[in-house]
């Protein structure tokens, strides 16, 4: 798994590459550091699929950003990830862009 970060003003963009499952979830968890950023974009363009281990991280990140008055946006999700988010009802909670 590869995680890249890029800061543009107050917006932090985190690009993830690789599958998110039980094996890789700890890596992703370690990479989801937002610092002082109030606007975070999580770019999942290169994530082919995500299991419930990843969902837990997304939910935690979402709650963290909301708590400090910021916003987490999730961008470029792939069909299989979308399917999982839809089934679990996470599509309605997260900000998908």
């Amino acid at each position: 798994m590869e995680i890249k970060t890029n800061t543009d003003g107050s917006t932090l963009t985190i690009s993830v590459s690789g599958r998110v499952d039980t094996v890789t979830a700890p890596e992703l968890e370690a990479g989801l550091k937002f610092g002082d950023a109030t606007q975070v974009v999580l770019d999942l363009a290169d994530v082919p699929y995500m299991s419930s281990a990843g969902l837990r991280l997304l939910l935690t990140a979402h709650k963290t950003m909301m708590a400090k008055g910021g916003e987490l946006k999730i961008a470029n999700i792939q069909p299989t990830v979308k399917e999982v988010l839809d089934i679990t009802g996470f599509s309605d909670i997260l900000n998908l862009v």
């Binding site: 499952d21 039980t22 699929y49 419930s52 939910l59 979402h62 299989t80 999982v84 309605d92």
Partner: protein
């Protein structure tokens, strides 16, 4: 039926008894009534009879009195002796002549006349009833009769009659004792009541004191005959009127005529009513009984059908772990219980036998023969014998004691699930339809003899090779022989067309054919059972299988193995399968307490698909029995637990779980791509 007849008999007997009882009561009642009526009639008749006799006697005595007056007017001497003579001559007891003051001036009785120291008898002052006679002096009456009674003067019984004497203003009176009274008047009573009838055939008889007939209603001119009291065949009464014993009598028969007519009429009417009611009740009861029998029969036929249906396999898919073939079957029974059946079972670890059969005839006998045939074929087949021999043994057993000449047509095939090779026998059955390499056609072979017809018959075994994706469709003649209102059969050609049209579907084929047959029938009754079976050969799957330890390292290994095994599977299918597998792997490694677990991956074709079998020796856990988490809560309330299982259930199909030999066995499958 015997019960019904005895029920009818009892009914008739009780109705008859009630009828007789009611008639007896009516008869008794009317007997009493007619007796009472008869005596009432007799009493009222006596009133008229009394008047008539009195009038008659009075008239006779007045006439006699006038004759006396006439003699006196002619100058007959009025001294005592002369009047006594006259009295004797005129047949009366005494004669008295009174003046206008009511004093007796002449009489045939000494006592009435004045004597020294004793005035004459005076009618006005004598007392008793004598004064009544003064009406001849005081009033306008010219004649007067007293009733026959005890005389006040001397205590003797007398009847006095007087007539006015215009010459003196007084009157002449005669007195008669019983004997003279009767002697004078008896002649005028003769045949007096001859024409009177009482109550139809009854009548009046007048007799003398000595019992001689004066007037008899039965036999006229019987005067002087000796009379005797009537016997018990009459209602009668006797009364002395003016000294004449008089009888009014009514024959009992005659009085009873009305009763008899009444009772007879009542009997006829009641009888008719009862017969009608009995017929009606009998009809209602027999209709009820018939209906009960009909209901009972329908119930038993329904039970027979249920037993029959329960005897054939009806859970689909029947072999959920078996990926090398699919089998689907359906039986649409006609109204009546019939003799169709289908069956399938393993006859060895890699051989499965499947068949469709149709017993000749209908109803319970056919159903029973069907059960026997089914059980026989299965018991021989499961000994592992070759299919031709199975048929020969089953046939010999069915022929034994088959006196009804019932038989069964069977098409049976035995599939080797590893090679796709089919050995089949056709015992007089319709040819099946096969799909071989995409081509759909009838599989025609020379049929052997039907089962149950002749012992010792030989059964030819034919061979057929199925490749993955090939299929075979069996049916009974109820399908092709279903007719519509115009009498046109569904037919072989239409069936072939329908089967070709939906070759790519599995269970859809059976319902499609049935719907098309019904559409053809267009409301005409289903004539026969429609039984179908389709077997689709999918071939032996490519299989990957490996055992793991419950560690994160092995979980990563299993993930990588699965990813490799899924090479060539379309990405969307492979990805979601990876997700589902990850959820199960994680559960096993984290929570199951297993010491080892396995993953098996089967790649199937026709249709293309993947099936995962994941087993572990951990604590029993059925993920399918868990309640789904609520996915509609907002972010703050959401938990992550349970979502993994939800994803598996929503994305994989079919998913099955079972616990076997201390292991949890979870299977999940998914089809993809072109299903051919």
């Amino acid at each position: 039926m015997t019960q019904r007849r005895s029920l009818n008999l009892k009914l008739v007997l009780s109705v008859l008894a009630a009828f007789l009882l009611s008639m007896a009561f009516t008869w008794f009642l009317h007997s009493r009534l007619s007796e009472r009526d008869a005596y009432k009639l007799i009493d009222s008749t006596f009133e008229s009879v009394e008047d008539e006799i009195t009038d008659c006697v009075d008239e006779r005595l007045v006439r006699q009195c006038m004759a006396v007056r006439e003699r006196l007017d002619e100058g007959y001497p009025t001294d005592l002796r002369s009047l006594q003579d006259l009295a004797r001559e005129m047949g009366v007891t005494e004669i008295s002549i009174a003046d206008a003051k009511g004093d007796i001036i002449h009489a045939s009785v000494q006592d009435y006349l004045a004597a020294p120291g004793k005035p004459a008898f005076n009618f006005r002052t004598a007392g008793g009833k004598a004064e009544d006679m003064m009406c001849l002096v005081d009033g306008f009456a010219t004649e007067y009769c007293q009733p026959y009674r005890s005389n006040t003067a001397n205590g003797a019984w007398r009847k006095f009659v007087g007539v006015w004497m215009p010459t003196t203003g007084g009157f002449v009176e005669i007195g008669c004792d019983g004997a003279s009274l009767r002697a004078l008047s008896r002649a005028s009573l003769v045949d007096l009541f001859r024409n009177w009838r009482v109550g139809g055939t009854g009548g009046i008889v007048v007799t003398t004191m000595s019992g001689l007939v004066l007037s008899d209603y039965e036999e006229p001119n019987r005067e002087g005959a000796q009379w005797e009291d009537p016997d018990d065949s009459f209602y009668w009464k006797r009364k002395e009127i003016e000294g004449f014993p008089t009888y009014v009598m009514i024959p009992r028969d005659s009085a009873a005529v009305q009763r008899d007519v009444l009772v007879g009429a009542t009997a006829v009417l009641n009888g008719a009513a009862l017969v009608f009611v009995a017929l009606l009740v009998g009809f209602v009861i027999s209709a009820f009984v018939r209906n009960q029998i009909k209901l009972q029969t329908a119930k038993e036929l329904k039970m027979a059908t249920d037993i029959q249906l329960a005897a054939i396999p009806n859970v689909f898919p029947p072999f959920p772990d078996e990926t090398s073939f699919d089998i689907w079957a359906a039986m649409d029974t006609a109204k009546e219980v019939g003799g169709d059946f289908y069956d399938f079972y393993f006859t060895g670890s890699d051989r499965v036998l499947f068949l469709v059969a149709d017993v000749s005839g209908k109803g319970v006998p056919a159903a029973m023969f069907m059960m026997r045939a089914k059980a026989l074929i299965k018991s021989v087949a499961q000994t592992g014998k070759q299919i031709g021999q199975v048929f020969e043994e089953a046939n010999d057993a069915l022929c034994e004691g088959n006196s009804s000449n019932t038989f069964v047509t069977v098409w049976a095939g035995e599939l080797n699930i590893r090679t796709g090779h089919v050995s089949y026998v056709n015992a007089g059955h319709n040819p099946p339809i096969v799909r071989l390499g995409g081509k759909v056609e009838y599989l025609r072979s020379r049929p052997s003899l039907v089962l149950g017809a002749m012992a010792g018959a030989r059964y030819r075994v034919n061979e057929l090779q199925l490749e993955p994706g090939d299929a075979i469709y069996l049916y009974t003649d109820g399908i092709v022989e279903q007719h519509n209102a115009a009498g046109e059969l569904y037919g072989d050609d239409q069936l072939l067309k329908t089967v070709s049209g939906c070759a790519k579907r599995r269970d859809g084929l059976l319902s499609t054919v049935i719907e098309d047959v019904r559409r053809h029938a267009a409301g005409a009754e289903q004539a026969d059972d429609c039984t179908q079976l389709v077997l689709r050969y999918r071939g032996t799957p490519e299989t990957f299988s490996r055992e793991y330890k419950p560690t994160m390292e092995d979980l990563a290994k299993a993930s990588a193995d699965l990813a490799k095994a899924l090479e060539g599977v379309p990405a969307d299918c492979a990805n979601i399968m990876m997700v589902a597998a990850d959820e199960i792997f994680a559960n096993i490694v984290r929570y199951s307490g297993a010491t080892d677990w396995t993953l098996t991956v089967e790649r199937t074709r026709h249709p293309d698909g993947v099936r995962l079998v994941i087993t572990d020796n951990g604590k029993p856990f059925d993920p399918l029995s868990r309640r789904d988490p609520d996915t509609t809560l907002c972010a703050d309330d959401r938990e992550v637990g349970g979502l993994g299982i939800l994803i598996v259930k929503k994305t994989m199909s079919p998913v099955t779980y079972r616990r076997n030999n201390g292991r949890n066995i979870l299977t999940m499958g998914k089809e993809h791509g072109d299903q051919n």
